[in-house]
Symmetry: C2
């Protein structure tokens, strides 16, 4: 499936959580209305872009006053899928995998890790943050039982392609790939790449350039 087939562009989907975060802040401060211009100036984005992004969401502002803040927060949370609980399996309980299992914040954004899988026998049968760890050999059976189709990929880079293939063969439809490896998948499989280490490279480079000034 190509990017062009999707209704909402990815850049829009990445900006909407910024608007939500700002709207929640305004909500907490007790204000009732919020305009797209106000959002735009507070997060340094073009007002026309904010209005266009929000046109994908089912909400309409009132002339002069803008959007109802409570409604905007509610509609954005629902649109982004943060109010629904999406259950996921995690593959590779190493350092980053274990760290993600520790992060309860994910559940506030609609993701619940219900089990981890690994090949290390010393991990099997243990748990992190009350999430059980199983041997990868048990994945397919657990997938059939639960129907869970989201998989978080946190194995070592050299195992990423192999693990992705096992995930897909076992029924995973969406892979959240935290490895820096670009996995190859059939076109009906969703891949979301989140290589936090690649962001580090950008930061180091910018810091280095600034130090030279």
């Amino acid at each position: 499936m190509q990017e062009k087939d999707f209704k909402v562009p990815e850049p829009t989907l990445r900006r909407l959580p910024w608007y939500l975060a700002y709207a929640q802040l305004v909500q907490r401060s007790g204000e009732s209305f919020l305009s797209s211009t106000q959002i735009a100036s507070n997060i340094a984005i073009d007002a026309s872009k904010v209005a266009k992004d929000l046109s994908f969401v089912n909400i309409s502002g009132k002339t002069r006053v803008g959007y109802d803040v409570n409604e905007l927060v509610k509609v954005l949370e629902e649109f982004l899928g943060f109010t629904k609980s999406h259950k996921a399996f995690l593959f590779g309980v190493g350092s980053l995998g274990g760290a993600l299992m520790h992060d309860d914040g994910l559940s506030q954004f609609g993701l619940e890790i219900v089990a981890g899988f690994d090949v290390k026998h010393e991990l099997v049968g243990t748990s992190i943050n009350r999430i059980p760890i199983h041997h990868i050999a048990n994945f397919s059976e657990l997938q059939k039982k639960t129907g869970i189709n989201i998989g978080i990929l946190t194995v070592p880079t050299d195992k990423a392609q192999e693990a992705a293939e096992i995930m897909i063969a076992g029924g995973i439809k969406a892979i959240w790939n935290f490895t820096p490896f670009r996995i190859r998948v059939p076109e009906n499989i969703i891949v979301q790449n989140t290589s936090i280490y690649a962001h580090l490279a950008v930061m180091f480079n910018r810091l280095n350039e600034i130090d030279k000034v």
Copy 2:
């Protein structure tokens, strides 16, 4: 400082770690040479883009055989800053902050979290993964003593701007912002936004669209 002032474009810096991950894989398999065409076809990127990205790095390939794999890995790791140890402070030892302190993988990519800061008195004096947690009131003093200028921002959204201002006032030059809030900073401060939850929204939306097919 504007993006245009930097020598290496951000998209290039984000793709180079993919090439590195693939080169490391090839290195482990025992191959000696790697061409940009080979990199391109294995990670589904245009060969001309790979060649252009690699032109920013100080390495030259040999006609017909390509790049020396060991040299490519070494040069890319150095260029991306992964071989140097960059010390950082973490602000906000909540769920995500604590998870990042658990992630030893960061040190393989050149980042070492040396202390966490929080306002919660019950956290102060404790540690996570042998990293001490101090009260935010001690940050400025510790910054002066250590000269650490990288700060990881993992406070709650409604504290993000305030925390960023404390960080900058205390000597932080680069902020790795994990909150979904768009902080406002002076132009000489580097901000790297890594909102992993925004990536979740993209994945949920794509999965939803596919389910409808």
